[in-house]
């Protein structure tokens, strides 16, 4: 499979604070790639850089073998890259239907939009029911669905999903992730999934990267990461067996 997106040595910073220190990854077309990491590892910065909200300092991003680093979101959404931000970020005083319409802001084809809306309602029937409800009054899970649905309205080829499980109950997490999997399989939607919930993410993903303080420290097929001792200990919450026969509470979490 050809990579849909190739990131090479990407560096981003907020003023003097460097958040990405040379990240390289590749996203094959039709796959789900997950980026794991703890708070402050640079996951969201990576997403913001890929979607064009933040200009990188160094490095390159190629999408369908075209350089796209430094382009702004309005260009990238037209190219088919959509960012579903962390924490839903819906438009609270607009109706569900209007939120969806804003997701399709860059599109003008009315017929295509109607088809898209039908598709979105098929995946998220609850949004069809709540069409005219103010989005701010939806529950957390519904808001997350709306955020994903709003992203879909742009008919993306690549969706950047930032923490879709944030603040949701385990049942809702399972529901959202099953929809993510279906979107990938049925619509062929390529995704980069940033998650703290490593188990859920590795279950749907094909390939995983581990980000630590702005660097990729480990990557591999999702099943292999799931079995890796380091991943199991640090992200899946399984105690490591130590030679002293008891748990070491403060094992240094360093990779290099």
């Amino acid at each position: 499979m050809n990579p849909l997106l190739t990131v090479h040595n990407l560096e981003s910073s907020y003023g003097p604070v460097m958040a990405l220190r040379g990240v390289s990854l590749s996203v094959p077309e039709g796959s789900i790639v997950t980026v794991l990491g703890s708070n402050g590892a640079g996951k969201t910065t990576l997403m913001r850089t890929l979607s064009g909200a933040l200009a990188p300092r160094k490095g390159s991003v190629r999408y369908r073998s075209k350089r796209i680093d430094g382009l702004e979101p309005d260009k990238l959404v037209r190219e088919g890259i959509v960012h579903v931000p962390e924490g839903r970020e819906i438009f609270p005083f607009m109706s569900v239907a209007e939120n969806l319409r804003m997701g399709a802001f860059t599109r003008r084809d009315r017929a295509g939009l109607a088809a898209e809306l039908g598709l979105v309602h098929e995946y998220f029937p609850v949004l069809a029911e709540r069409r005219d409800q103010e989005a701010g009054t939806l529950s957390g899970g519904e808001q997350q669905m709306l955020a994903i649905a709003r992203g879909l309205m742009a008919r993306p080829a690549l969706m950047l999903l930032d923490e879709p499980s944030l603040g949701l109950s385990p049942m809702l997490v399972a529901e959202i992730f099953s929809i993510i999997r279906r979107l990938n399989q049925e619509q062929g939607l390529t995704m980069i999934l940033v998650e703290q919930n490593a188990r859920a993410a590795l279950e749907v993903a094909d390939h995983g990267y581990v980000l630590e303080i702005g660097r990729i420290v480990m990557d591999g097929p999702a099943e292999r990461l799931m079995d890796s001792d380091d991943i199991r200990e640090f992200y899946l919450g399984k105690a490591a067996d130590s030679s002293r026969g008891r748990r070491r509470w403060r094992k240094r979490k360093s990779w290099r």
Partner: protein
């Protein structure tokens, strides 16, 4: 009958306050700051219209002159945001407040330097005409002001509820980052809101100059009163701005008649204080905590 007459004149005044307050709120929602030059932009619009329309000046056809004055203010406000105010975005809100206050001073002096400091009226087709409806005498201009405001508000409502750009403006004000992610060109949208508010200022200025007379410094007091109206309505609510404007407009003539003049003059601000104490987010507040 007297009361009714006062009421109509109050509503007409209130409409002009309301239009300026709408400008305040539009910009507040788009730029998250207050444009204290709004009143002076209105006076600039008024003087521009006078220069284009009055018989001793350019003497253009009425509607053509109006269109030019409105468009000029729109372009002026667009460029003001695109070239100047956008640069201070991300600075503390006070930066923009001070910048617009300074801009107000500059506008006042420039207007005075070009057109002088004497009060001038606009020669409108309806100047001095009166309507008599059963014992009630209403200046035609008051009816025109009320009609224009109703029309503008309807157009604005349709624009925000129905059009793609109107919705994008709402989206940008409710969640700028998300709007940016959706591919909405937020910077341009904000500048367009400024342009809209500039056009509204020009229309308000024309109505104001047609009703009485304007002088360069009138924008200061007028702008502050309209600001009070916006605060009363709940800074951030468009219907609230209009309601606040009407409230102040209606209150003024009655206060002027029944209260000593020095008290009547502070009545709009007293009302603003009262609202701020009893309902701090205004009469028509649009606030709700974000769900996590």
């Amino acid at each position: 009958m007297d009361t009714l007459q006062l009421l109509i004149s109050g509503i007409a005044n209130g409409c002009i306050y309301g239009l300026i307050a709408l400008g305040f709120v539009l910009i507040y929602k788009a730029s998250e700051s207050v444009n204290f030059a709004q009143g002076d932009m209105m006076i600039l619009g008024a003087f521009l219209a006078i220069a284009l329309l009055n018989t001793d000046q350019a003497d253009l056809p009425f509607l053509l002159g109006l269109a030019i004055a409105g468009l000029s203010l729109g372009v002026f406000a667009y460029l003001l945001d695109a070239l100047l105010l956008r640069r201070v975005f991300g600075q503390p809100q006070l930066t923009m407040v001070i910048l617009t206050i300074a801009l107000g001073f500059v506008l006042r002096f420039v207007i005075g330097a070009i057109w002088g400091h004497d009060p001038v009226g606009l020669d409108s087709p309806v100047v001095g005409q009166r309507l008599s409806i059963g014992g009630l005498t209403v200046p035609v201009i008051d009816a025109v002001i009320i009609g224009t405001t109703v029309f503008l508000v309807a157009v604005l409502w349709l624009f925000f509820a129905r059009t793609r750009l109107g919705l994008a403006m709402q989206a940008s004000s409710q969640n700028q980052m998300a709007a940016y992610y959706m591919g909405i060109p937020v910077k341009r949208v904000v500048s367009l809101v400024w342009a809209m508010s500039g056009v509204m200022a020009a229309i308000a200025g024309v109505l104001f100059a047609a009703k009485g007379a304007v002088e360069p410094s009138a924008g200061l007091v007028f702008g502050i009163k309209a600001f009070a109206a916006a605060v009363i309505g709940g800074m951030g609510s468009l219907p609230g701005a209009l309601a606040g404007g009407l409230l102040i407009g209606i209150m003024e003539p009655f206060a002027g008649r029944h209260l000593p003049s020095h008290i009547a003059q502070v009545s709009p601000y007293a009302l603003m204080l009262l609202v701020l104490i009893l309902r701090p987010s205004g009469l028509f507040a649009q606030v709700r905590a974000k769900k996590v």
